[in-house]
Amino acid sequence: MNDMPDEPFERQVADVTRRTVGPPRHVDALAIAHGAATTERRGRRWFYGAMQFVAGGAVVAVFAAIVLWSGVLTGDGDQDPAPVGSSPSAAPSASVDPTMPPEELTYASGRFDAMFESTLFQDTPGGSADLAGPSWFEVTSTDPRLEGEATYLEHIAEWGSEPWLFLAEGQLEIRNDEGAWTGTAGPFLTMGPASAWEAPADPPQGPSDPPQGPSDQIASAGPVILEGSGAYTGYTALIDRAPDEDSEEAQLGTAGFGSGTFEALIVNRTWPGVPSEDVWLREMRRTGQDP
């Protein structure tokens, strides 16, 4: 292609295009550079990369876990051992409380759209940097319970250069007039590059063996578990997000939280979080498996 098209129609297209945008303006490059370096930071629409399908599967797994734990913790497993003489059939290991309403599961989809995103920089000893930034999102969804405004407060650690590691985790809240959803998003992990990692101690044997060690860059994230409050008390929302495909971050293959689409499951059960050892021991004693 030449600078000036030869063909008359193409020349007219070029001419109209240039006249439409006008001539170049004066640029205050120092001010722009300083602004970019020190003020707002546009969104971290980090990409899930090859791990996205894992996150999608994890939504299902987490949902199953919620249902299971709801049964365990609302059944006898969360109570004192059954009294002597009680009917054995009265204490199944994952019995469902008859007073609990039936499980109600709703699928929803929607979008997070960043309205304002920022990052605050805080240097730390040793050359690494911790960063945190409040971000505001508009949330639209097929389910009005998941619509509203969202805030996301993130903590980030970026360590190393070759290899490097990017780790982020944030507190997400979606709220509307009826209630709110809160939970932890992340951790989001991105690390690379492959060339900087040491070769595995046992290299692959034969050409059919899969490559070992991290690929050029690894990005991963799981679903976000949100606990309902207000009108949504007693409900849990599981959100699996994906960045917009045409974002340049998507092409960079990193993971994080930002604008993009999501799929969600809302269930009328609460997620109890990570169980304590006591819960397991009590359940094992109750079922006669006391170690």
Partner: protein, 179 residues
């Protein structure tokens, strides 16, 4: 680009990645207007274009270290800005109440004697193109990208980019032949 110029550019990029704002300002000075003018054509809105480029520079400041080939800096910068512009266009469509002022720029009408096409009709036809096609046109005729730069910016091969440009021009020509 000569090897000396490439080396110089690589050094400027390396300095900017290391946090040198002056080096970053050199990059801004060299490419800001290419980014802004392409975004003006994509959004047809100067304010939106300014917002897009401002957001793009903030991204570039943090992502510059990921650029492996200095000679691809210009197409990369413009593609970052165009992505920002498309994001803003999407938001504006979803939030019509906050729609910004329409681009006040205009092109004077008049039939081109060589083509028989009125420039205002041509502008209207280009407005109906999707933002990706408008971006390609602007990168080609405003920023003056060659085939290789276009290919780097849109993720196609150089022949694929030429074919896409030819299809866009063909569509415009076809549409205007009916008016």
């Amino acid at each position: 680009m000569s090897s000396a110029a490439e080396q110089d550019l690589a050094q400027v990029i390396a300095s900017a990645v290391a946090g040198d704002e002056l080096a970053f300002a050199r990059i801004v000075a060299a490419y800001h207007e290419d980014m802004r003018r392409v975004c003006v054509f994509v959004t047809r809105d100067e304010m939106l274009a300014d917002d897009a480029v401002q957001a793009a520079w903030a991204k570039v400041w943090h992502k510059l270290g990921s650029l492996k080939q200095p000679e691809r800096l210009r197409p990369w910068l413009v593609s970052v800005a165009v992505n920002q512009a498309k994001d803003l266009l999407r938001k504006r469509r979803r939030n019509p109440e906050v729609e910004l002022l329409a681009n006040a720029m205009s092109v004077s009408g008049g039939r081109d004697p060589a083509t028989g096409v009125d420039s205002l009709d041509l502008l209207a036809a280009m407005d109906r193109l999707d933002p990706d096609d408008r971006a390609l046109i602007a990168m080609r005729y405003v920023a003056g990208f060659d085939s290789n730069e276009l290919a780097a910016a849109v993720g196609l091969s150089a022949p694929g980019t030429r074919a896409r440009m030819a299809r866009i021009l063909g569509r415009l020509r076809e549409e205007l032949s009916h008016e």
